[in-house]
C-alpha cells in the first residue's frame, strides 16, 4: 500500500529528471526568494514604525524570527528526507539530507547571532542560558553532528546513510530536548527577564515579517535545489548522462 501510494513520485526520484527539474526551478526560486526577502527586510527596516518599547532595535525581528523558525523547519524536512531515504531506499532523498544540513546549520547560526545581537540591547547581555536559546544551540550541535558524521567516512554513500540515521534519532530527541530545557530553566531562574512577550503585533509590522518569513522559506528551497544538484552529480558521476552534460557545459563555457 505504501509502495503504490508513492508511485507517482517515482519519476521525480530518478536522478536525471530531478537534476533537470531542479535546474529549471532554480532561477525562478532564487529570484523570487531574493525579491521577497529584500522586500520584507527593506519594508521592515525602513518603513514600518519603530516599536514603542524597544525602539528601532526590534527590527532585528525581520531576520531573527524567520531564521529561527526555518532552522527548525529545515531540520524537520531533513529528517523527513532521511526517513524516506532509509525506509524506501530512495537515494535522492538520502542526498537531500546532505543538501539541507548545511543550510539548516547556517539558518541556526543566523538565529543565534541575531538573537545575541538583540539580547545585548534588550537584556543587557549577549547570552543567557535561557530555555529557547539553549535548545537552539543544541540544534546547531545536532546539525554539526550530522555534517561531521556524513563527512567522516571513506565512502560517501555510507556516510550519508549513517548521517540520515542520526538525523532521525535527533528528531526523536528534539522535542525531548526542548521540553527538558524549558523545564530546567523555569526551575533554575524564574522569569527575571521579560522576553518573548507576544504583544498583539501591529499589521504594519506583521506584514513585512510574514514576507520575510516567506522569503527565507523560498531561499531554503532554492539553496536546496542548488545543493541537491551537486549531490546528484557526485553520486551519479559514473553515468553517461553526467559525463555528457559536463562536457556540454564545458564546451558552452569555452
Amino acid at each position: 500500500m505504501w509502495g503504490s501510494m508513492f508511485r507517482w513520485l517515482d519519476p521525480y526520484a530518478k536522478p536525471e529528471t530531478l537534476y533537470h527539474l531542479c535546474g529549471r526551478w532554480l532561477p525562478y526560486l532564487m529570484t523570487l526568494a531574493i525579491a521577497t526577502l529584500l522586500l520584507g527586510n527593506i519594508w521592515g527596516l525602513a518603513f514600518s514604525p519603530p516599536d514603542y518599547q524597544q525602539g528601532d532595535s526590534y527590527r532585528i525581528i525581520y531576520i531573527h524570527v524567520p531564521s529561527a523558525i526555518w532552522s527548525m523547519g529545515a531540520y524537520s524536512s531533513m529528517a523527513i528526507a532521511a526517513f524516506i531515504g532509509l525506509v524506501w531506499q530512495i537515494r535522492v532523498a538520502q542526498w537531500a539530507v546532505l543538501a539541507i544540513a548545511p543550510i539548516g546549520a547556517v539558518y541556526t547560526a543566523i538565529a543565534l547571532i541575531t538573537g545575541a545581537a538583540w539580547g545585548k540591547p534588550m537584556w543587557g547581555t549577549w547570552w543567557v542560558w535561557d530555555a529557547r536559546l539553549t535548545s537552539e544551540l543544541v540544534l546547531l550541535f545536532l546539525y554539526l553532528g550530522v555534517i561531521a558524521l556524513s563527512g567522516a567516512f571513506s565512502e560517501a554513500a555510507r556516510g550519508i546513510k549513517v548521517a540520515s540515521l542520526l538525523a532521525i534519532v535527533g528528531v526523536v530527541n528534539l522535542p525531548i530536548i526542548h521540553y527538558s530545557v524549558e523545564w530546567w530553566n523555569t526551575l533554575h531562574q524564574g522569569a527575571t527577564i521579560t522576553k518573548f512577550a507576544k504583544p498583539s503585533i501591529d499589521p504594519s509590522m506583521l506584514w513585512p515579517l510574514l514576507i520575510s518569513l516567506l522569503g527565507l522559506a523560498l531561499l531554503l528551497a532554492a539553496l536546496t535545489c542548488l545543493r541537491l544538484r551537486s549531490q546528484i552529480l557526485i553520486f551519479e558521476q559514473h553515468r553517461p548522462w553526467v559525463r555528457q552534460l559536463v562536457e556540454q557545459q564545458h564546451e558552452e563555457q569555452s
Binding site: S57, H64, L226, Q237
Partner: protein
C-alpha cells in the same frame, strides 16, 4: 518611511551596531553559503572532467603497455 533622513536610518535610533551587525552577518552568511555551494558545484564538474581526462590517459598508457 519611518526615518527622516539617511543618517537617521543608519543610526537606527542608537541601535546601529546591533541592527547592522545582525543584518550584516545574516547576509554575509547567506552569501557565503551560496558562494560555497556554487563553488562546490563547479568543483564537482571539474573533478568529473578531470576523471574523464584521466581515463583517457590510462587508456593511452595501457595501449602503450600492450
Amino acid at each position: 518611511m519611518a526615518f527622516t533622513s539617511w543618517a537617521d536610518f543608519w543610526a537606527m535610533g542608537g541601535y546601529a551596531l546591533f541592527v547592522w551587525l545582525s543584518f550584516g552577518t545574516t547576509y554575509g552568511l547567506l552569501l557565503g553559503l551560496w558562494w560555497y555551494s556554487k563553488r562546490q558545484h563547479q568543483q564537482i564538474q571539474q573533478q568529473i572532467r578531470a576523471k574523464a581526462a584521466r581515463e583517457q590517459r590510462v587508456r593511452q598508457h595501457q595501449e602503450r603497455e600492450k
